[in-house]
Every structure is written in structure tokens, then in C-alpha cells.
Symmetry: C2
Subunit: 255 residues, 2 copies
């Protein structure tokens, strides 16, 4: 009971500390993708899509790297973790690569998303590209304000959060997005979990407590602003990070 945060996991590691030749995981036991890589994959997606739109069917690691402002070796290593999808001498096929990344990110399936809190942020999310394209469908919008309940956004009507049970009965919900004021976030989170949501994405500026089996991530709209303040305040930006990307937004992960 000394450290509630650090359950025995490292010591009880299933695999031996010094490798006994893992044999390079094949098609069945997929390669381990570092989270650092996972977070870059959506960035590559975005760049690839832009390249495609501007008529580039093929792209080199150098080009991708230049757009993402990272090192080309990193791009190649990231992509090689998904498989050998490039063609030596010419590069990667943009469309094909997008497909592969989608598959890796699990965006080849569709996650039903419910958004709670239909203020400005909730509306922005409901309409945002990232929530409406590949991989996600917004299946429900919830609020408590009678002035908002009943309103139609896109092709979805905002419902009262008391109807959550009914909504859950109609459609499956896998991801809950909290866009409420901080004061409501915890209780809304509890309700969503009660309704069977497996993951929570919290935009409210508060620390949420949820059961460990719920995947919890947390986005702070002002965190980059604060990081900017830090670097702006000391114009001697760390030489290494100067052109470095860093991909963020607080995420708390539970089991």
C-alpha cells in the first residue's frame, strides 16, 4: 500500500530479461509498436493525405520527414515496424501506406463515439474531421441543457443525458468523449462507464477517476500554450528540440 501507482509489473515480466532470441515476431504475434511511434502514425496519415491530394502517388522517407519535421531515419524505422511497405529506390506508395497505417491504428474498423457536453467544444468535436472520417462515427450527442437537447447537429439530434441508458440499448458505444465543464466531468464519466463505454477521452480540465479497466485519455487544450510560454520565455530554445516535433496532449491510460 506504499505505492498505489506501481503495481508489480516490471518484476513479474513474462519474458526473460535478456532475450533468448525472440525469433522476430511474424504475422501472428505482431511487432511491438512503441507509443512514440503510434502517436506519429496519425501525423504521417495527415501528410500522406495532403501529398495524395496534391498529386504525389509516391513519397520518400525524406519527404515525409521534412513535412513532419523529424529525422528521416525515424520515419523509416516507424514504418518498418508495420512491415516492409516501401520500395527501395523509389519510396512508399502513399495510398497503400495510408491503408496500412489505418489498419495498424485499428481505423479499419469503426468505433462508435458518444459526445457528452454540447457546448462550443462538443460541437467542434462533433464536426471535426478527425471524429467524422475513417475509424469513428459519432452515434450520440448528449447534454443536460434543455435549450440544447433536441437540437440537430449534422444528422444527429442532441439527447438528454438521462436517456443514456436508452441510447446504449439502441446502439453500441465504445468511446465516450467528455466535453462538459469540469464540474460535471466526473459524474458524466461515471454515467458513460455505467453505460458500457470502454474508453474515455476527457477534454474537461479536471482529473478523472475511473475504473482501471477503462482506457482513459485526457486532452488539455492549453498544454501546448503553456509549453510555448516556457520556450518563449527563454528564447534560447533547446538546440536539439528546435526543429523537433513532439506530439502531445495529456493521456492517462488505464489498463
Amino acid at each position: 500500500m506504499t505505492d498505489p501507482v506501481d503495481p508489480p509489473s516490471k518484476a513479474a515480466n513474462p519474458g526473460p530479461p535478456t532475450s533468448v532470441d525472440p525469433g522476430r515476431p511474424e504475422s501472428s504475434g505482431e511487432r511491438r509498436i512503441p507509443e512514440a511511434t503510434v502517436v506519429r502514425l496519425p501525423v504521417y496519415q495527415r501528410i500522406l493525405e495532403e501529398l495524395l491530394r496534391s498529386g504525389n502517388a509516391t513519397v520518400s522517407s525524406e519527404q515525409l520527414a521534412a513535412s513532419a519535421r523529424i529525422n528521416a531515419a525515424k520515419v523509416r524505422k516507424d514504418l518498418s515496424l508495420l512491415g516492409s511497405f516501401g520500395t527501395r529506390g523509389s519510396g512508399y506508395d502513399a495510398a497503400f501506406l495510408i491503408e496500412q497505417i489505418d489498419r495498424e491504428l485499428g481505423l479499419d474498423q469503426v468505433w462508435p463515439v458518444v459526445i457528452a457536453g454540447i457546448g462550443n467544444l462538443g460541437r467542434a468535436l462533433a464536426n471535426s474531421q478527425g471524429f467524422t472520417t475513417r475509424g469513428f462515427t459519432v452515434v450520440a450527442l448528449l447534454d443536460v441543457d434543455p435549450a440544447v437537447v433536441g437540437e440537430r447537429i449534422g444528422d444527429i439530434t442532441v439527447r438528454h443525458i438521462d436517456e443514456l441508458e436508452a441510447v446504449a440499448a439502441e446502439t453500441s458505444l465504445s468511446i465516450g468523449v467528455i466535453a462538459t465543464p469540469a464540474s460535471a466531468a466526473q459524474s458524466v464519466g461515471d454515467l458513460l462507464v455505467g453505460a458500457g463505454v470502454r474508453s474515455l477521452l476527457n477534454f474537461a480540465p479536471t482529473v478523472l477517476a475511473v475504473p482501471p479497466e477503462i482506457l482513459l485519455r485526457y486532452v488539455d487544450l492549453s498544454i501546448e500554450l503553456q509549453v510555448m510560454s516556457f520556450y518563449q520565455a527563454r528564447l534560447g530554445v533547446p538546440s536539439e528540440e528546435q526543429r523537433m516535433p513532439s506530439i502531445r496532449s495529456i493521456g492517462l491510460t488505464g489498463a
Copy 2:
């Protein structure tokens, strides 16, 4: 011209590779704060504020770690980089710690922020806690839509982006926030830079090109959603990351 992304910096490192006893940097040459730490500082802030509100004046690294879902040693190491602000045997004084972190993040000064693109997201940002509390003031709201220009949000009237020059003459602008559709982002960014903004925070889902002397950061509202998809798709979340935080939102930094 082979690698436009990676200027010589590592090799030309000022400090010797093996330390010659740096002598522990004192008050003048501040300690180097790793970016990983910088990004956690706002998280600590939020937790500290909540603890304060709930009547806890003192907090231990264990408590902070439990709330942030990270290792207590990490908390202690992070905080010790700012100075020795804890009291052995009892912990940290929450209010004092908040102050110190503010100072470290440069939030003891006030950065004038201009938000371009007053749709749902722009409004959400303009009203968001993170943009209106310590460290930042929203000094201008800009849009092109005649239906929006002239509208009053909080105590600021939305102005047409053509008035940017005039705005810049009236008040200093240090941070520009882009909350426009992707299609407008690049030109708006150019305008803001032209108006003297030193940093850009881009919420538009597009890759922005800006001069290297501009500090550029980029937030993707759906990136965590995509990361969720990845982990949800393979319910065997990496055992190590299970309770790990990770703090994100794409950031592209230019000198």
C-alpha cells in the same frame, strides 16, 4: 541539401560528452529542463489546484503521482529540477509549488494571444480556462465571416482579419492561435507572422509551413482518439504503459 531537417547540432555540442563536474548550475545558468518534464508541469498544476480547492495545503510526491498516474520518483525528479521546494518528512506546499511552476513555465508574465477563426473551436478556446487564466490574455478575435465579425465574445469584439494590421498597432501580439478550417490555415498563419506574432499554435488539421524563427506547435483534436483506437483494437495494452500517462498533441517547433 540532403537532409533539410537535420542541421549540424549534435556534433557541435558545447559541453564535453563526459561531464567534468558541471558544478550544479546555480541561480544564474538555470538547470536544463527536459521537454518531457515541461509537458508534465501543467499537469501538476492542475492537480495541485484541485488539491488546494479541496483543502489540502500540503502534498506528497506519492499523492501527486497517484493523481497523475505516474511514478513518484518521476514527480520528485521533475520537481527537483526546479529547485528544492519540498520539505522532507512532510511533502510540498501546494500553493508555493504552483507559484514555482508558474515561474518556470513563464506564466508569471502575460502573453497576449490572438485567436483567428471564430467557429465553435475558436469560441471554445476563447472561453477556455487555459486561455483565460494565469499567463495568457486573449487580446483579439479575428474572422472573415461578416456574420461573426462584430459579435462580442466575453469582453472582446470579433474583428475582420483585414484589420490585423490595426490590431497589431494597438496592442502587442505574441501568440497566434489558428482555429480556422484547414483551407485557410496557411494564409492566416502567414498574416499572423506578418503581424509580428512570435509563436503559432495551430489547431487546423493541416501541416503549416512557417519561417524557422517562429515557434510552431500543432494540436490535433483527434490524435488521442486514434491512439485509443490503436490500444482498444488490441486489448492487450502494453503492460508497461497500462497506467502510464503520456502527454501529447502534435507540436512542431521552429527555432
